[in-house]
Structures are given as structure tokens and as C-alpha cells.
């Protein structure tokens, strides 16, 4: 049963064909079986997951209406505050910290009757594209255990590709939902900035961060999107508008007459040939479904990566200043011989990993007197130009498209000591964070050169998130013969339908 989609699982629970408790037990059993190889989970919350499942079953028995995802098991990125479980954010500096309130996203998940199985691994403070900067070990890609699962939400994506959960909630600052979704062959959407609450989400770069959904199917992802989205007075940058009709769009998949703009700057030279091949195949699918394919140019996207690596570390250096060893988290050197400043320095030196240190120092540099105008000031202007490129491109096209990432998953360890190579994994995803518009990654099939999953990125204007799902659903019907991609860990060779895999 756990190899089915979230919507199928929910429908069977609602119909009384299976109980939510049976699903939760099967999923916990699956985690016990395969997570030794994947290491997606940092904490499994079996007892409460069973209680949450029982509550759904009791509700059904009492004849109360169930939501469309009631009883569906979900994994949660370890960046969301969820009382009763530690929140490490992938960092040793927060080891053992228990939040004292729930994130808005968590409250909404629980209200929708989702069953939270536990918390999953991530790059430290969401900084990375491979989950290797986590202070709690590597997560392995279910398609090839020697490969990275993407990042920073690598645990989310890997847990879905390994069928350890039916849905997952993550966050995206520069591609942290879309890139792991792409390299795991699943769906991941970065909603419009401000449409999903950041309350209770450990902050990385506040003008860029947004929580969002992962699923194995387009409809599942849309259902989760609808469940967690919407205005929240506790987030001062929340957009007070209705959630776009994402579920209806995922059910429709109608792209007739839709203008699909291929971004000239995101593709071609420097991109893996197999990635471009699958990208072009997807354009063919959309064209046959009635979309009009056009070319658009966004010349300032060439500066997006550079501007991002000034703005993001600047915000990081400010946000991570809160880890001062005084009110919560690690404290080192408090033996009476060190002053408060020394304790801060020792704690941050020991508690932060290499990438966190790199970015904090980079941000400190970009914001320091004498460099502010050349770096932070210039990057903010480049951001304006990127927003203008999007505005112009969205006059010529309803959605913009590109590969999600220039390559498929690379080997664990390959880019660990080459930060720039690591950063380039987010070349295509960063522009949408800079402009705040929505974007999603949808499975494009397997790259013919290495047999690994490729992601197709769709970008739409702010609060037009439904368009992403329309395109994603149109692709899903044709890619891989209309069957979901199934990772090797699922026990079957690539290309076999999920339904053919024996239940555990």
C-alpha cells in the first residue's frame, strides 16, 4: 500500500478499505527496513505517528468528514519547529534542542490529518545542494546509494524516492526543494514567496526562504501545497490572498494554447547532454498537448548566481547571529574562565560546520564597511534587473521553462571541497528565489547517459502557482509512458510502474 500515491492512500482510508493505522505501521516498517541504507531520517516518531493515525481512524468511525490527505504519512524537514521532537536544522549547534511551539506549516499538517512520521536530514541550516553539510551524516540517493540526494532538502526527497513516506514538506531558498526533487525523480514545488508561512521555520535567508511540498505525483504535491498554503498573520511577509487553484490545475493538466517560454540563458552549453535531451523531449510533449513553445531571453539571469551568493550570505550572517549560546542550543567554554564573548566564539567555532562558517564570513565581508556598496548594494540592484527580466518574459509567455539542474546527481564527496562547483547546481533555480515567483520541478525521465532522473523546471508569475501544476500534470501523462519513475531501492528495475512493486 505504501507504493501508492498519497491521494490513493487517502481515498482508501476514507472508504474504509484500509486503516490509517495500517498505513502508518507499514510505513514505519519500511523505514526500519531501508533507512539504514538511505539515512533520510534524523528522528522517527513512531508512537505519535500511530496516535495521529488512530485519530484519523476514530474520526472516520464516528462519521466525521476527512480531508483529502487524512491519514497520509509524511516526512518533515528538520527545519520546522514541531513540539515533542528535536529540531537540529542539520547543525550540531542545535543538537538536542526541543522547540516550544509549532510552525504554522506543522499546525496545518496536523489539522489536515496528515501523519508525521519523523524529521529528515538536510544541509546544515539549509546551506548546500547535497545534504553533505549536515552535522548528522550523509543521506544517500535511492537511485544510486553512492550519489548525493540533492539539497538542502535531501532527506525529504530521498524519503519519498525510497517510499519511506508518501509526502514531504521542505523549504527552498535557492533551489532546496526543486533540485533534490529533480535528482530523485519526484515532484517538488517552491510556492510563491510569502504564500507559505515562515513562522516556526529556522531562518536562513529571510527574503528568499519559502516552505513547500514534495510528492511522487503532481496531484499529491498539489494537495499538500493546498493544505499548507495561505495567509498567516504570524509571518510579516505573508501575502493575504487566496491560494491559487493548484489541485484543480493538477487534475486538469490542460496546456492548450499556453505559451511556454524556453529561457535561452538556462540550458545548452555546460549542461549534461542527457539532461538537455530529456528537457527537449518534454517540450515535445507539451507541444503535442497544444502548448505554444517560444524562446525568451533573460540576460540578467547570468548574474543571478553571483548576486545570490552576496545577498544570501549577507542575510545568513545576520540570521545566524542568534546562535549565541545564551538562550538555547550549544554552549562551549562556560567554565568561569571565559567571558561571554569568548563563549560565543568558542561555541560558534565548534557548533557550526564548514559551509555555515564560509557563508557567515562571506556575508560579514559583503556587509562590512567599504565593501557594502560594491557587493550588497550591487547585488540588490542586480536583483531588480532579474525581477524586470521575469516581468518582461511573462508578457511573452505564461510559464518559463528550463532544466531544473545542469546535471543529474553526482557522487557523494565529489564537490565537498569545491564550493563554487556545488553552488552551480542551483544555476537554474536561483532566479525564482531572487524574484519571489513560484517554480516547480517535475520528473522528465531518465538521462540516457547515466540512467539517473532529470528534472524539468516550470516557473510562473507570483500567485500563479496553479500554472506549474497544469504543466506538470501534462508532462506526467506522457513521461516514462505515464508511469511514475521508480528508484532502484524500491526493489524493481527502473521504468517499472510503482503499482507492480510488491507491497512490504
Amino acid at each position: 500500500m505504501i507504493f501508492q500515491s498519497a491521494s490513493e492512500i487517502a481515498a482508501q482510508i476514507a472508504a474504509g478499505e484500509i486503516s490509517a493505522r495500517e498505513v502508518a505501521d507499514a510505513e514505519l516498517e519500511r523505514i526500519a527496513q531501508v533507512d539504514g541504507q538511505i539515512h533520510a531520517f534524523l528522528a522517527v516518531d513512531a508512537e505519535r505517528a500511530r496516535e495521529q493515525a488512530d485519530a484519523v481512524d476514530a474520526k472516520r468511525a464516528a462519521g466525521e468528514p476527512l480531508g483529502p490527505l487524512a491519514g497520509v504519512p509524511l516526512s518533515l524537514k528538520d527545519i520546522f519547529c514541531y513540539q515533542g521532537l528535536p529540531c537540529t536544522c542539520g547543525s550540531r549547534i542545535l543538537e538536542g534542542w526541543h522547540p516550544v511551539y509549532d510552525a504554522t506549516v506543522v499546525k496545518r499538517l496536523l489539522a489536515a490529518g496528515l501523519v508525521i512520521l519523523g524529521k529528515v536530514n538536510m544541509d546544515e541550516f539549509a546551506m548546500g545542494s547535497s545534504t553533505e553539510t549536515s552535522g548528522y551524516g550523509d543521506t544517500h540517493n535511492p537511485w544510486d546509494l553512492d550519489n548525493i540526494p540533492g539539497g538542502s532538502s535531501g532527506g525529504c526527497a530521498a524519503s519519498l524516492a525510497a517510499f519511506e513516506a508518501a509526502l514531504s514538506a521542505g523549504t527552498d531558498t535557492g533551489g532546496s526543494i526543486r533540485q533534490p526533487a529533480a535528482v530523485n525523480g519526484i515532484v517538488g514545488v517552491k510556492p510563491t514567496y510569502g504564500s507559505n508561512s515562515r513562522y516556526g521555520v529556522v531562518a536562513m535567508a529571510s527574503s528568499l526562504d519559502v516552505p513547500g511540498p514534495f510528492g511522487r505525483t503532481v496531484l499529491d504535491t498539489a494537495l499538500l501545497h493546498a493544505a499548507i498554503s495561505g495567509y498567516d498573520p504570524l509571518d510579516s511577509t505573508a501575502i493575504d490572498q487566496p491560494v491559487p487553484p493548484v489541485v484543480r490545475a493538477a487534475e486538469s493538466g490542460d496546456v492548450k494554447g499556453m505559451r511556454v517560454g524556453v529561457v535561452k540563458e538556462l540550458g545548452g552549453e555546460g549542461y549534461q547532454p542527457g539532461v538537455m535531451r530529456r528537457f527537449n523531449d518534454c517540450l515535445g510533449i507539451l507541444e503535442r498537448a497544444g502548448a505554444q513553445i517560444t524562446q525568451v531571453s533573460c540576460p540578467n539571469f547570468d548574474y543571478a548566481l553571483g548576486a545570490y551568493y552576496i545577498i544570501m550570505p549577507s542575510e545568513v550572517s545576520a540570521n545566524l547571529a542568534r546562535f549565541d549560546a545564551m538562550r538555547y542550543g550549544l554552549r562551549v567554554g562556560d567554565d568561569g574562565s571565559h567571558s561571554v564573548e569568548e563563549v560565543m566564539r568558542l561555541t560558534r567555532g565548534q557548533g557550526f560546520g564548514a559551509e555555515a562558517k564560509r557563508r557567515i564570513i562571506l556575508g560579514t565581508y559583503a556587509l562590512s564597511a567599504g565593501y557594502y556598496d560594491a557587493y550588497y548594494g550591487s547585488a540588490q540592484k542586480a536583483r531588480t534587473l532579474i525581477v524586470q527580466d521575469f516581468t518582461k518574459a511573462f508578457e511573452a509567455a505564461d510559464v518559463l521553462v528550463s532544466p531544473t539542474t545542469p546535471t543529474t546527481a553526482w557522487g557523494l564527496g565529489e564537490r565537498v571541497d569545491d564550493p563554487l562547483a556545488m553552488y552551480k547546481a542551483d544555476l537554474c533555480t536561483i532566479p525564482s528565489n531572487m524574484a519571489g515567483n513560484c517554480a516547480g520541478s517535475f520528473p522528465a525521465g531518465l538521462s540516457p547517459d547515466d540512467g539517473l532522473p532529470v528534472g524539468f523546471q516550470v516557473m510562473a508569475p507570483p500567485m500563479a502557482d496553479d500554472r506549474l501544476y497544469r504543466v506538470g500534470a501534462a508532462l506526467e501523462r506522457e513521461v516514462n509512458g505515464g508511469r511514475p519513475l521508480t528508484s532502484l531501492i524500491a526493489g524493481k528495475p527502473v521504468g517499472s510502474g510503482a503499482g507492480e512493486v510488491a507491497d512490504v
Binding site: G194, L305, Y309, Q350, K357, S368, P419, L420, P462
Partner: protein, 98 residues
């Protein structure tokens, strides 16, 4: 521009991060490569381009100033590394013992 280990040490001090000699030597060339790669950004926009700090148009958000439930002192202190008399206990602030 060349970024030396001394420059990185100065930045680490501003950021309150203790770094070993080894870390300083490792970080300096890495940061220099990153800074070189992002430097082109300073050439992109002219003086006439307005900066964007936030992607969505922002307005100040107001609400009624009313008393609402909040964290108890006990909850707020529950994750503290050290407490004393219902308060956060911190290492000495001044260099000299009082």
C-alpha cells in the same frame, strides 16, 4: 583582490567564530575564489537602478495592540544552556570580576 588568512581572521572575529589556523588557511583561498566569481555583479547595474531588498511589494503590517497568550517563562527557559532563579544565566559580561 587577495584575501589573506589575516583578513579572514578579522572577519571571523567580527562574526564571533573561533577558527583554527588550519581553518583560516583553508577558508581564505576558497573565499577568494567565491568573491572573484561574484565580483562581476558590481558591473551589472548603473546608478539609475533601484535596489530590491525584497521580492514582493511590502507594506507595514499593523494589528491591534492587545494582550494575547505567549510563552511562559518556564517554556522560554526550557532549552537554556544554564538558568538561575528563573532567568538565563550567562557567562561574565565584563572582563574584570565584579
Amino acid at each position: 583582490m587577495a584575501l589573506t588568512a589575516q583578513d579572514v581572521a578579522k572577519l571571523a572575529e567580527l562574526a564571533r567564530i573561533e577558527l583554527s589556523e588550519g581553518e583560516l588557511a583553508h577558508l581564505a583561498p576558497q573565499l577568494e575564489v567565491i568573491i572573484e566569481a561574484v565580483a562581476a555583479v558590481s558591473q551589472v547595474a548603473g546608478a539609475d537602478v533601484a535596489p530590491t531588498s525584497h521580492a514582493v511589494p511590502m507594506e507595514n503590517v499593523f494589528r491591534e495592540d492587545e494582550i494575547r497568550p505567549s510563552l511562559s517563562a518556564q517554556a522560554a527557559l526550557s532549552a537554556a544552556p544554564a538558568t538561575e532563579d528563573g532567568r538565563f544565566r550567562v557567562p561574565r559580561i565584563l572582563e574584570e570580576e565584579a
